[in-house]
Amino acid sequence: MIQKQIPWYNPPVMLNLAFWVLFLIILGGLGIFLFSRREERSVVSLAAVFSALGGVFALMGYTFLGAIYLLIYAGAVVVAFLMVAWLVSGRSQGGRSLRWAFVFVFLSLTLELGLILTYSHLTFKKAQAPALKLGSFFLQNYLYVFELTSLLILTAVISSLVLIRREK
């Protein structure tokens, strides 16, 4: 249906093209991460790496996992790392260029999440919905593992609060 509307639309070629663009982003991000001397720059470059990896997951057909990767890794984990990087460097907001890089990464994350959701919507088949299949798989086969991971998160939150607390 889409192919009729857009004559140049060729899914395999476009998927390949998207993959190689993401591959280059990952390669560049890894290079900056390894050779940059500033921690903040390393963290921001890794935001690009993780978000591109989320895109690769989506291209492989794991759209739900890609979105989760983007939200948890490129969103939450990288932001937590950035806070600690600022704490290490002693700067409150990093440099001006870094602020722009952060805005750029945030905008590209939003754009990529939108692209993943659109791709997921276009290729959606109710019988093969990834989140539905994954949810039923967890609840039917690995309920205890699922509950244990939630317990693990709770323990991690409490232990990190205990660790960071100042003793009077």
Partner: protein
Amino acid sequence: MSSFSLFILAALLIAGGIAGFFLRKDLLTMLLSSEVALSGANLLLLVFASQASPTEAQAAVLAILTVAAAEVAVALAALAVVIREKGKATEDIVSEMKG
């Protein structure tokens, strides 16, 4: 997007993570490097399992992701404590610490 190119990508991520872990001296970057290597391992798991059982692989990656997020929360808190006590967090400072 062949399996081979995905293997190459996973290998690059794992190699980059290991290289970062051994080349850098600050703990924050070492921790980040381990996350990069873990991402490569996740990708490898998905590539291997995509033919056999994709749902199980997704479930495994989701569980790994949860454990990694929990590990990051605790490790960052520990790192913040080291920075507060010592002023910086490098490999040498942690080697000096005794229990």
